[in-house]
């Protein structure tokens, strides 16, 4: 036993060191992405100018550009990427389905309906984002209420109820948009996803929601591992299965809704990032969740910078960028034989 102990301790230390190194590397990548995003923009600034402006918030035009335009926009992009990636990882664990994404149980169509209703009935009041936030939460809650009544396999029912609600809400949205053609362009642009005219207060609201949601999620990381073993086994090892599922669904929905509040509907990030992270770190959620947060944030900061500065085309919706980068990359990862590597 002592030999095993020593060997195990070495393996344990190696693993912890590796995890810490990966964590620090991901933090460094996120900071680098921020630096790239701050330097590039409609006018390019030298890194030293950016640095100077960061240290002197009241220092003229470059400070205004950095502090009031670029920085809040990049923080918003990071929160959106992080929120969607974490939400996707939680939904995949909850539904035990690698194809689940943050929108899978109706959040996107609920958000879409909320946005359309706000734009149709109270246009010009800047209520699209809050209405989308509420719509996303309401749709998931409704799907949960429908699934809860079924004692057998409620997660499968949740998936089906979410799908049925999506179809219904999309139909209502389309009908309202056709009735009121003025709002068509606004809503279409919103559904493509984009980070426009972000203020610090909007970023603050989303950050608070995500922080609360993260506090809810952190004590459940190991419970998520147990849920991967199936409801019966999780129950057997002492998990309050229904309550845990509710907390996880609530946390994931808040992450999604906060991201939708900032950026509209951005696809693919929530599906792809958790898969990449699992290849990097294995499926244990103590690592998947924090790594998804960092990788999602980094990816979205870079995608936003590209969306803003794609030279021949001018600005492109960020949702298109994530799809254009994410789609082929995901196909490449799927086609490549196994292994825990990014490339």
């Amino acid at each position: 036993m002592t030999g095993l102990d020593a060997k195990h301790r070495q393996v344990g230390i190696y693993l912890r060191t590796r995890t810490t190194l990966v964590f620090l590397l991901l933090v460094a990548l996120l900071l680098a992405a921020f630096a790239i995003g701050l330097v590039h923009g409609s006018t390019k600034m030298a890194l030293s100018t950016v640095w100077h402006a960061m240290l002197h918030p009241a220092g003229g035009i470059s400070s205004v550009i950095v502090w009031q335009i670029r920085f809040p926009r990049l923080v918003a992009a990071a929160l959106v990427g992080a929120g969607l990636a974490v939400s996707g990882a939680v939904m995949q664990a909850l539904l035990q389905n690698p194809l689940a994404d943050p929108y899978v149980v109706g959040a996107s169509s609920g958000a879409g309906l909320g946005a359309v209703v706000a734009e149709t009935f109270v246009p010009g009041m800047a209520l699209v984002a809050p209405a989308a936030f509420l719509g996303a939460l309401a749709a998931v809650f409704l799907a949960w209420m429908l699934a809860r009544a079924r004692s057998r396999s409620p997660m499968l029912t949740l998936l089906l109820a979410g799908y049925a609600l999506s179809v219904l809400f999309s139909a209502i949205s389309t009908y309202l948009m056709l009735q009121n053609q003025r709002s068509l362009t606004t809503i279409f642009a919103w559904e493509l996803g984009g980070i426009h005219g972000i203020t610090w207060s909007a970023v603050g609201v989303a950050a608070c929601i995500m922080a609360a949601s993260a506090l809810m999620l952190i004590p459940y990381l190991k419970t998520m591992n147990a849920l991967l073993l199936g409801d019966d086994v999780a129950h057997g090892v002492g998990v309050a299965v229904r309550r845990s599922q509710f907390v996880l669904l609530l946390s994931a929905s808040l992450f999604t809704a906060a991201a939708v509040y900032l950026s509209g509907l951005i696809g693919f990030v929530g599906l792809v990032i958790p898969h990449l992270v699992r290849r990097l770190s294995g499926p244990e959620h103590e690592r998947v969740i924090p790594f998804s947060f960092l990788v999602g944030a980094t990816f979205m900061v870079l995608a936003d910078t590209v969306a803003e500065r794609l030279p021949p085309l001018g600005t492109v919706p960020i949702g298109l960028i994530t799809a254009f980068i994410g789609g082929p990359y995901f196909l490449y990862v799927l086609a490549r034989p196994g292994g825990r590597r990014f490339f």
């Binding site: 004692s151 591992n225 147990a226 073993l229 199936g230 086994v233 090892v237 002492g238 998990v239 499926p283």
Partner: protein
């Protein structure tokens, strides 16, 4: 010294929307007993096991474990008394064997253990379970890559890591070849004889059941038809009617225990 006596008192259960029911199930299982639930398919063996695991709530009657009714325990307390080994498990993602076995300790983790790194005592419990089932060398493998025999040993390690006085096993040797089946049964035998664990298992192999178990409950259509010491139950002529089959009852030449063969 607490006693972990399991007492089942006139328990009834019916699946919602199904005619399958359990009726008037009563019995006592003393500490350190190895009990097998036998009976034809659909007799209610697995349902009874699920009731004892708290996965289903009885419609009638009650189940006591130790001093209190089963449903009075919190989820965590229950997980410290009874561990359930499923017949099969297919996780959606490629979890490591060690992570699977660590789940056995989940119920005993406090709030801070869940956020940070579990304390040494938790890790030692996992190591002991891995060593006791000869799965230590598999710890870094993916659970989904294991062979049937290895996977079953890892599931046993998971329930051992729960450190419970009572183990509930659902068809522990189903789909195993004779070598792996015998190995697993002898591991369970050591747990019962050396650690005085109570083992309750749904089981379908009448050739081997008498070699290992102390007690047998034979179920048919949701009722207990025969109940008692293994050697007595296996000699009862009613077994033929229960399974709709003629049996030859032999005595194992070296173990001197009853063996049933179909004729």
């Amino acid at each position: 010294m607490t006693s972990y006596h399991v007492s089942i008192d006139r328990v009834g259960f019916h699946w919602p929307g199904s005619s399958e029911t359990l009726q008037e199930i009563s019995g006592e299982i003393t500490e350190g007993t190895w009990l097998a639930l036998i009976g034809p398919n659909g007799a209610g063996k697995t349902t009874l096991l699920r009731l004892m695991a708290g996965l289903e709530i009885p419609s009638l009657g009650r189940i006591h474990v130790g001093q209190r009714a089963l449903r009075e325990y919190s989820h965590q307390q229950r997980a410290g008394l009874l561990a359930l080994m499923p017949q099969a498990m297919r996780p959606a993602f490629e979890l490591e064997v060690r992570t699977v076995v660590e789940m056995g300790q989940l119920g005993q983790l406090g709030f801070w253990d869940r956020i940070g790194r579990p304390r040494a005592s938790h890790r030692e419990a996992v190591d002991e379970a891995l060593v006791a089932t000869d799965t230590y060398a598999l710890a870094k493998r993916k659970f989904t890559d294991l062979s049937g025999g290895e996977a079953r040993r890892v599931l046993l390690a998971m329930v051992l890591a729960q450190q419970t006085p009572i183990l509930l096993l659902d068809e522990p040797i189903a789909y195993l070849d004779p070598g792996h089946a015998k190995d697993l049964l002898e591991r369970i035998e050591r747990l019962v004889r050396e650690q005085r664990k109570t083992v309750i298992m749904a089981y379908h192999d009448l050739t081997t059941v008498g070699l290992y178990c102390d007690q047998i409950w034979a179920l048919e259509q949701g009722r207990i038809r025969l109940q008692g010491a293994a050697a007595e139950v296996l000699c009862q002529p009613e077994l033929k009617a229960l399974f709709g089959l003629d049996f030859l009852t032999l005595t194992h030449p070296t173990r001197k225990r009853p063996v049933l063969l179909w004729s």
